[in-house]
């Protein structure tokens, strides 16, 4: 504590030199994940629900892009379905996961959009 006080000339602990993590709102997730739906491991899911999820994911990404923010590692594993059957995007740490995003499109709008198209296609054609 004294070391910090010396560093900053204050008697207060300051967070500015020691951030080791962050916390996020917890989304009460359904036991069925989007990736399981795409892989056909979630039983029969109504096509209206799949269409709703695809549209929600696309809407969220459009909102991000409108604000110059890239999802980055866009893939079904990074979508949570909550207890109300709404789709949430997670993981904004960058990187890429083929075949959803390829190296040449990583961390770009194009990468996000190609991944969205692939997610929609796989989701709607899943059992």
């Amino acid at each position: 504590m004294d070391g910090l006080a010396n560093l900053f000339g204050l008697g207060l602990i300051t967070y500015k030199k020691g951030v080791i993590g962050f916390v996020l709102e917890k989304i009460p997730a359904k036991s069925t994940a989007l990736v399981q739906v795409i892989q056909g491991r979630a039983g029969e899911v109504p096509s209206s629900l799949k269409e709703k999820w695809a549209a929600q994911i696309e809407h969220t990404v459009a909102e991000l892009h409108k604000n110059d923010i890239i999802w980055g590692d866009a893939k079904p594993e990074n979508v949570i379905i909550d207890e109300n059957d709404d789709a949430w995007l997670i993981d904004f740490g960058g990187g890429f996961t083929p075949p959803w995003v390829e190296l040449e499109n990583q961390e770009s709008r194009e990468g996000d959009l190609l991944a969205l198209a692939r997610i929609r296609e796989k989701l709607l054609s899943s059992p």
Partner: protein
């Protein structure tokens, strides 16, 4: 040295599927031996088939859902066998270096409010010294990286540096701050060790830790989450909200 002083603790697979540690106790000190498929180190075999062989077999025997008792037994047996085999390889070096290492007095254990404890207890465990070594191959034979125990690991669980925080300080001012000792870990999410379920002052959160292995992606995520928070997105855009950062003040003492 009497052989009973050497205790095989077992293999820990919780890092990820491409790495694990095999742990031992010798003369009151704990040793963790890293097995990973990272690119080889200079001076050692470029092709590290022997270490990868262990990793593959460990992965293979662990690829089951726990429903079949025989699978679980097979996994247990092989993990024990691998830990014993690796133990035979590393024991001579442990004998050699153990006397030069100070024996840390084990402080009284802190009470844990959950099985995993707080972030602080998880990252900076208040227990006896653990010496970390890496298993590699030299001329086709398994060995340990020479002098590994003497090297400092400056990035280990290091908080964000001032350079890494450049440009986000003002935004960080707008969100709650917690101490690592307040963040109670409750669940490990998905593979790896970066996302946990956590509880702070009775509220449930998802917690991301800037630890050694996942440092870069977790650090990269924070500015984006701050930007999302500031962007005031349409309420129909569903992204878990950044609720705060936590810090460990002791890292910068002395």
């Amino acid at each position: 040295m009497a052989s009973e002083e050497f205790v095989v603790l077992g293999i820990d697979q919780s890092i990820d599927e491409y790495a694990c540690t095999s742990s031992y106790k010798y003369n009151g000190r704990e040793f963790s031996i890293l097995l990973c498929d990272d690119p080889s180190r200079p001076g050692y075999d470029e092709k590290n088939d022997v270490v990868e062989g262990y990793l593959e077999k460990i992965y293979d025997v662990s690829a089951h859902d726990g429903a079949n008792v025989e699978d679980s037994f097979r996994q247990h047996e092989y993990l024990q066998q691998a830990a014993r085999e690796i133990g035979e390889i590393v024991l001579p070096l442990l004998r050699e270096i153990a006397p030069s290492l100070p024996i840390a007095e084990a402080p009284p254990p802190e009470p844990k409010l959950s099985e995993m404890g707080t972030v602080e207890q998880f990252l900076y465990p208040n227990d006896q010294e653990s010496v970390k070594l890496q298993l590699v191959a030299l001329n086709g034979r398994l060995t340990l990286v020479e002098g590994h125990h003497l090297a400092s690991i400056p990035d280990k669980d290091k908080p964000m540096t001032p350079e890494e925080m450049k440009g986000i300080e003002a935004d960080l001012d707008t969100i709650p701050k917690f101490e690592a000792s307040e963040v109670l870990l409750t669940t490990l999410y998905r593979g790896g060790m970066s996302a946990f379920g956590a509880s702070i002052r009775g509220e449930e959160y998802v917690c991301k830790i800037i630890s050694n292995f996942f440092r870069d992606p977790v650090i990269a995520e924070l500015p984006t989450l701050l930007k999302i928070r500031k962007a005031n997105l349409d309420p129909e855009a569903r992204i878990p909200e950044l609720r705060g950062v936590y810090f460990h003040h002791q890292q910068f003492q002395a």
